[in-house]
Symmetry: none
Subunit: 211 residues, 2 copies
DNA sequence: CGGCGCCTCAGGGTTTCCCTGAGACTAGAT
DNA sequence: ATCTAGTCTCAGGGAAACCCTGAGGCGCCG
């Protein structure tokens, strides 16, 4: 039996996950937790093989729990289970040794696959995560930098998020419009943005501008 | 049998809700939807008595769906099902005639109670909501809908804020790209937006999407 | 019935996007 | 001292998006 711990603050979601997992034999949900601290204690008591951690939990977020679990003698595999396709969270998670990353929107289809992969101690990353980011995250050892943008790129991103076009930005920075466009494009590549709207949401999430 | 429609973009959560509801006899989940537009179509086809709407759905948020359902001949009771205790959302919901408001953290304990209350056509509001707002909201005053956009414009704005271009939006709404561009332009004029970024910030401020 | 608002779409000029490539400058490593 | 890596700067150019104007159809309401 593969022993699983589920940590999520929403009862209904835990119920759904448990139901999904227990459709297969060989899998057993041995404990549940509704916040980060509970998850740590439950992991201590139940010694699960795999821990499914919601990212946005009260008290302690999923990645923080993962960080603490890392130090334990019998370290379980960890699946971070999150609402948003957020590169910063994925980055952070990979940095603390998490091998599983699943979007909630992807759960029904791929949870069992993810768990099976983790049971073999292989990495599972949700398919909907932007490919460029994944490459950037899985390949280079340059992960310490949680903010992937250069200073200039950050400035441009912020100006874009404030509602300015490249043509309006270039006189502010006293550079050519092509320069602004390059910074914009490379920033988009790094943060996995495919549109101006993605840039704006990124900037708001990172408190570079207010909504 | 009381017929229920569940709309939420997370499969696992729908599974959990369905499992919870079907523990009781007399309740039947007749349809599911994973975004706002699907919810509208499913409501048309399945004619449910109660519609459970996640607030933060793609394409069209829960309150927006409620607004459109209001105009239907056989209008179902609506339960808005949301993550956050947000006065603005509740206010908006009540304004469009929603009588049920349940926090996700409260679901396991009170979902059935909420559904039963709605089945009697009475209002159910989750416990943690501030009383003053409730009062202000439950007695019909001059709480006006301050949102100047038409339903179609709101949908387009949300889709834009989710990162989609006009070309990607038009097949979703099954209209020509010129139509989408017109809605986009008139929405921008109404809300005073001069760029895509302004649209996105507007959408986030009005909780049409999350950052 | 006659407006009025909403949804739908076309034409078309302008702008922006976004990819590729490339030179210069700095800093750190070999 | 040379090399490497990263950043900032900019150009060209095709594709796409933007945004304005105009306009027909539909439902609703006075």
């Amino acid at each position: 039996m593969t022993r699983i711990l589920i940590a999520d603050d929403h009862d209904v979601l835990r119920t759904g996950l448990r139901a999904l997992i227990e459709t297969r034999s060989g899998w057993e949900v041995v404990a549940e937790a509704r916040d980060g601290l509970e998850a740590l204690r439950a992991a201590e008591a139940a010694q699960p093989d795999i821990v499914v951690l919601d990212y946005a939990m009260p008290v302690m977020n999923g990645v923080e729990v993962a960080r603490q679990l890392r130090a334990r003698p019998r370290r379980p595999e960890i699946l971070i289970f999150t609402m948003h396709d957020d590169d910063a969270v994925l980055r952070e998670a990979v940095l603390v040794g998490v091998r599983g990353y699943l979007l909630k929107s992807d759960a029904q289809g791929h949870l069992l696959e993810a768990l099976a992969t983790l049971a073999r101690h292989e990495a599972y990353i949700s398919g909907q995560v932007s490919g460029t980011l994944l490459e950037a995250v899985l390949k280079p050892g340059k992960l310490e930098d949680s903010n992937p943008l250069t200073p200039r790129e950050r400035t441009v991103v912020q100006l874009i998020a404030e509602g300015r076009t490249s043509r309006q930005i270039c006189p502010i920075l006293k550079v050519g419009i092509k320069t602004v466009e390059t910074h914009r494009a490379s920033a988009m590549r790094k943060i996995g943005a495919a549109s101006t709207a993605d840039i704006v949401r990124y900037a708001i999430r990172h408190r570079m501008v207010e909504a």
